[in-house]
Amino acid sequence: MTPEDVRRFLSSYLESKLRSRGLDTQALPDNCDLLLEGLIDSFDLLQLMTALSQHYGHPIDFEGLAPDDMTVVGPLCRYISAQLRGPFISPA
């Protein structure tokens, strides 16, 4: 599962919100902060994490993700991709 795959899932998951804000549904930029852009709040984030775990059939441990990166598209996709490759792989 590559970071690009995760990005595609994110785009699909957020499609209606992206569309309603007139944003490109196919290209979520690396530096887009989903929280600061108003695309998600803390509870949406939890739902998103649950949806990711269910979609990939793999629990995701977010404790290793730096809090400031938690809602930024690039670091988030890379972290999830690394998590999905195995429980002991460092996302660095």
């Binding site: 569309r19 709040d41 803390s42 939890l46 739902q47 404790e63």
Partner: protein, 538 residues
């Protein structure tokens, strides 16, 4: 500012607690927001100047209400205080709500003055374009409003350099029913309805709660709620009543509550239970993680036993309480103190009891004919007392339907629509759910009928049923909609149409078109059957 002495009576103006604290502790920090510490003196000065500006510029025109379009900013809090000092109630507007909804909330109460912070200028521009009458627009974060004046000549603009002087403020004599705020909640017929909460309602509550919790000037309160959520009034007026500090998280801190509690050294926490669930899932409720907390309060939705237990372990020095209250009964009207030893046995279905009424608040548990049920039986919760609000703004039909005189009584009670178990002897009230189609999403009241009405309006189809889905321990995570008929050509257009009218949490996640919706034996749409379809993975 000429300050009233701290009166023991709830007939005093709501701002008087802040004024007294500002007189006693002018250099103490009243507010932490956007990384800035604002002293009582500073906040008093800005609030008084805003109040004087409202008084001078509106001169009694329009309703005694001022709208505050601002969020998590010094201007937002000064706007609330300024409105009250001007003798007005405040109408909180959310910068992230759709413009159409916000315009209803501004125009329906006939607000003539609007306070806007720098973060809400974009939505303010859209509002100003549409509002048909003249507004006094106060922009305390701006220093030049020439552009605004040329774009919207029918409105009057005041920047921070032209706010009236503090000395121009005049204390007004507020009537006994002077409003504290007008707060809009979801309405079942497609339009939000405004709940009129009087200053005396809030004062009665604040006076009792500050004593109950022994609040002092050394306390530090969290401010987790947006101002469109009435629980935000608790944080503000509890803190300012006693000279304490109100700490407002940044947007980033809302997803890092653990960091927020530690960095701000909070002593009093207040949030919806979903936040505790969120923190538990993020592994942010470790034993003894929050030793600074001495009081942890939850309100707005059911509190799961597992969340209360985990929170108590994470905040071992804290009292944990579950509060309950619809907006119409002012912030919270019943209280339950969690005990790790005795509470699990008093809880039902894994949910903590809502407890016992606040002083002078009266409880009835009634059947469908509004007759009292026997102890131990289920029924609808009715309450009245000093916290009962004045009803709905210019909506006598809805007020008459919700504020009723039950058979054999000679007093008005508010029908909460909540299903509870009537206590046996001195036991606590147990919340069991709703008697209607209102659901809670993250503590927000959602009338499914409001969503259905908008979908019907857009699709031109009558068979529309909205259901909460998926269920979670505190209510529902979102809404899905079933529509009887052929799929409409452009479902994105439908989503966009709803997103233009509803806050994000009310916009349906999915639409399901079925040739025929299932009905029950009474010929009504069968909501349980529809939820079962979702359960099966429709």
């Amino acid at each position: 500012m000429a300050t009233s002495t701290r009166a023991a009576s709830s007939t005093r103006p709501l701002w008087s607690g802040f004024a007294q604290s500002a007189a006693e502790y002018p250099e103490r920090i009243a507010l932490r927001v956007q990384g800035e510490s604002v002293s009582y003196r500073e906040l008093e000065e800005l609030s008084s100047r805003i109040a004087a500006t409202i008084q001078v510029r509106t001169a009694g025109a329009g309703s005694p209400l001022t709208a505050v379009l601002a969020q998590r900013s010094k201007t937002a809090f000064a706007g609330v205080l300024g409105s009250l000092l001007a003798g007005h109630g405040y109408v909180p507007l959310h910068p992230q709500f759709p413009v159409e909804r916000t315009q209803i909330m501004l125009e329906q109460p006939e607000c003539r003055s609007l306070i806007v912070d720098s973060g809400a200028l974009d939505i303010a521009a859209k509002l100003l374009e549409n509002v048909p009458y003249s507004l006094v627009v106060i922009l305390p974060d701006e220093s030049d409003v020439a552009d605004y004046r040329s774009r919207w000549p029918r409105h009057e603009f005041v920047d921070r350099l032209n706010l009236e002087a503090e000395a121009a403020w005049r204390e007004t004599s507020a009537g006994t029913d002077a409003l504290a705020y007008l707060l809009f909640t979801s309405g079942s017929t497609g339009l939000p309805k405004g709940v009129m909460v009087a200053q005396r309602n809030v004062s009665a509550f604040i006076e009792y709660m500050t004593e109950r919790y022994d609040v002092t000037e050394h306390d530090r309160f969290s401010q987790m709620f947006d101002m469109t959520f009435d629980l935000s009034a608790f944080d503000m007026f509890m803190a300012w009543e006693k000279g304490a500090c109100l700490c407002c998280p940044t947007r980033k801190e809302t997803i890092q509550p653990a960091t927020f509690v530690r960095n701000e050294e909070l002593s009093i926490w207040f949030s919806v239970p979903s936040t505790a669930m969120f923190m538990k899932q993020w592994n942010a409720l470790k034993p003894n993680q929050y030793p600074s907390l001495r009081l942890s309060l939850f309100c707005g939705e059911p509190l799961p036993v597992a969340s209360a237990r985990a929170w108590q372990e994470a905040a071992p020095n804290s009292i944990v309480e579950n509060l309950y209250g619809p907006t119409e009964l002012t912030i919270a009207c019943t209280l339950y103190r969690w005990s790790s030893d005795s509470s699990p046995a008093e809880s039902e279905l894994g949910i903590v009891p809502i407890g016992y009424p606040c002083p002078e608040m009266n409880v009835l548990v009634v059947d469908e004919h509004l007759n009292e049920v026997a102890a131990g039986a289920e029924g609808e919760l009715l309450m009245n007392g000093p916290q009962m609000s004045l009803g709905y703004w210019k909506n006598s039909a809805k007020t008459a339907a919700a504020f009723v005189v039950p058979p054999g009584k000679n007093e008005v009670f508010y029908r909460t629509g909540d299903r509870v178990r009537k206590p046996i002897e001195k036991g606590p009230l147990i919340h069991l759910g709703r008697i209607d189609f209102q659901i809670k999403i993250l503590g927000h009241r959602v009338e499914l009928g409001e969503i259905e009405a908008l979908v019907r309006d857009h699709c031109g189809l009558d068979g529309v049923v909205a259901v909460g889905w998926p269920a979670c321990p505190t209510g529902y995570a979102a809404v899905e909609v079933f529509i009887e008929g052929q799929p409409c050509a452009d479902q994105n257009a439908l989503t966009n149409a709803l997103a233009n009218r509803l806050p994000d949490y009310m916009v349906p996640k999915r639409f399901h078109f079925l040739p025929e919706l299932p009905k029950n034996v009474n010929g009504k749409f069968d909501r349980k059957a529809l939820s079962a379809l979702l359960e099966k993975g429709l």
